[in-house]
Symmetry: D2
Subunit: 282 residues, 4 copies
């Protein structure tokens, strides 16, 4: 049989991620926010933390538009070594200030096992980026802290592999894992990636973990993000991860896919209507 | 430059499909139905016409659930020569009977240029299947009749190629083309295909033609179809093409992805709510 | 089971294409050429027949370099309706002239069932292009004539589907089918397509039919074609389909991937060495 | 312009990996072996180091068959946390013993920045696995030691991204980088991955770094590996990475794709003939 290697899509009964291991949805507490419950959780903010003024301004903007969590990159994985790599630890300090000013919990990326304890001091949620979905020492390291983990799907990885990556975190002791679909690589070149919207109902059947969608990376153009956000909530996602920048055209990274404050306010209003139809709120 | 071949994504100004050629949405009349207008159009029915009783029963069921158009295959393209190939001309007669009984317009597939005039007598809308998206003699042949054409995207074809295929039909004289996203082939094996939901807003920007979504083929499992239908309408699709069967487990083809009458009624109710939010109706 | 649809990779015992149906390699006679035997068969010529002078000149050139068969398009499937569509029947006449002058058998594409009898008069081998691999009425039509058929793999089609397409031809009565791997669509954008070199040994195990490779379309750049041709012969392909043009920079179509006469002579010398190593000849 | 993100395939002039920065091929010394020179370098051995007896036995076998370098995993990245994760540091000791017995240099994988100094003591070449191709802290860490680095292409990564990953290593100070094509993820399910053979000539034009091929992972079935190895050498690869096991059916990992000693001896004889034709040796 030539294809036996892909025959194990359903996680075995005994896997911690499996809906068979736990029937009810996992709901994760972050401050007074609940991820995976009735409320749709929107995490918004810039690709990179660029300056005190930028991150505080955008934190206030997304809070006003009813986002629940502030995103912002301090340690940035970039394809080229010559691209801006983030402000590093200074970026974490600025995120902490934005938290003090707005009260918004923080989600930010961690890139190596040795950074985990530092980032875990500042971040409410630790993000594992798509490139690190199968960085197993990193998965084990975030599995040994208490902070919830936002695990992004790799661009070339199957849903089965995403669940096995979550299993690394859970089997290391941390059960607070949020899955994130952010687009996969296909032949289509009109968009940056292809949002795998099928993944939402399929994952909901396979696992009890919350699932959010990152429409910004999935399509790569700001003007298409709101439509995809509506679609993600309509199929049943538990939340969104969205890039918003006070002046997208001046962003140091990912400006092309960042929403302006006004576009983000529209997005929030539109997904609120969809959420209500599904007996959820934002 | 290694990638010059994919540099022409935006259709040239003078292309008939282009939003630059025609700014307003094209609205296509089929009987008293309008495709591409404010109303969401749902085309529903079995994969294959199997018998008089089956097609008339399902026509009545989908009509009652407020579908606008009856789908059903008479000439069936099947990967294997040993699979059921459809009832052929007899299937067309049965579709005509279902039309008489219910008043629903008919959409059915045409597979070769020499069949076009026959199928055009019975069908209100001629369907070009995904496998024939670049069957250029067939595109030219349907371009020479008056019936609207439902053009499905090939599983390995880009959006640019889809628009160029539509251009073949339009430049042959038939401007009534409806585009259909039905899933593309990717590495993900948990679903039959990957619904390219990005395609909806991207196509809406590139072209004035109506765009519908086939969630049944895109995901391949009936229990996921309704969620995807909601997502498709939420992102802005003008309609749906959905497989429904009176007894899915007894269907001769595609039973696994066919909705039962009850599931279809639920789908219609759910997309109605989404449509209303977008100031559309069903 | 989510992936049952891809569980049937091994053709059933009773399929005509299967190595289980026929253990020995099928060898196909075209004039005094044998395809699928010990000799490597190279089919070469321009993408399109452009003029009497062009096709006769290139026929003499490829013959001198020891190609066995002349390729050239008369009916050209092109993604855009505004691209050159080939000389049509006149192109067939010119191919016939080139045959008279050089004695080389002709392979050329047929695009619709109604063209089959015409093209079959002029062509020694009927080519089914990648876009028509699942054009089932066309497969059945070429299955009802005597000419050998060169069946190209669709860019989005699996090996299983390629074999099922061949089965359409064989089950219609024509057992002389030559399979052709010509690159599949993947995320990699540095080359036009990705040559699926794995396909050669896998197909050799699954089927008794001869298998050739088209490196010109697979990579899309003339300067890489010779290396890939060496690779194709080294893994066990029975032949090649190569685009050669007297003046590639002036070609009406596919100039970028066409070899100059000199490059083609080099290719032939290099694959001869590889062939000899495998106890084959050219 | 929708596709600006993929417009930068050619590395800029000033990149260290670029053929424009350095015209001549980079040749890397490992003991008295040269990688990237006239000699084809074959790295062979088991997927995982399993025991002293196993690794010493296989080291002697591959040396006798004229492999130049011993491969073997001590730290194993596995998709599931419940699969065998390698013998760890003990595996490194056993590799060192195999080196003492046979004199073969060792290539083995390193999975996190904190392991680099340990693995660098035992390994002649540090392997970065496909899953870690964009683990940037790890790339920087191996960029700060002297050992040559074998960088495997990620299954969802473009050639441009592979070169940018190599640039991370080089810009950190280590110019001894060997690139490895090991198959990419595509829709084809008949093989484990799709060997991107196009990558070899394309990379040879873009970069001066040596390029080897891993046919074992690319196809996933032992019986197809030798054919692909011939193809890789014929297109111009500088070497191979091949899984060989004394008893493939008893291997703890990757047994299905491991060659038996006898199959490996055949592989070496066949690629020697191809190498000679290209004026190279093994």
């Amino acid at each position: 049989m030539l294809i036996s290697h892909i025959n194990r899509i359903a996680p075995p009964l005994n896997m911690l991620v499996s809906r068979k291991y736990r029937r009810e949805n996992t709901v994760i507490d972050v401050g007074n926010i609940q991820i995976g419950g009735d409320k749709i959780v929107v995490m918004a903010g810039p690709c990179s933390v660029e300056s005190r003024q930028q991150i505080i301004e955008i934190a206030q903007i997304v809070k006003k538009a009813r986002a629940s969590i502030l995103r912002g990159g301090a340690f940035k994985p970039r394809s080229s070594p010559y691209s801006f790599q983030g402000l590093g630890e200074q970026g974490l300090h600025l995120l902490a200030e934005a938290h003090v000013v707005t009260g918004l919990p923080i989600v930010t990326e961690v890139m190596s096992p040795s950074q985990v304890s530092l980032v875990a001091e500042y971040a409410d949620i630790l993000q594992i980026g798509a490139r690190n979905m199968q960085n197993f020492p990193l998965l084990c390291a975030v599995g040994r802290v208490r902070n919830p983990v936002l695990l992004k799907r790799g661009i070339g990885n199957t849903l089965e592999e995403l669940l096995l990556a979550a299993e690394y975190i859970m089997s290391s002791g941390n059960y607070n894992v949020i899955l994130c679909e952010r687009g996969i690589r296909t032949f289509e070149s009109a968009t940056r990636f292809t949002l795998d919207i099928n993944a939402i109902p399929v994952l909901k059947e396979m696992t009890h973990l919350p699932i959010i969608v990152d429409p910004s990376h999935a399509v790569g153009k700001a003007r298409f993000v709101t439509a995809l956000a509506r679609g993600a909530i309509a199929v049943g996602a538990d939340g969104l991860l969205v890039e918003v920048h006070p002046n997208p055209e001046e962003a140091i990274s990912d400006g092309e896919q960042s929403l302006s404050p006004q576009m983000f306010a529209t997005l929030m209003n539109e997904i609120e209507c969809i959420a209500r139809m599904l007996h959820r709120s934002i």
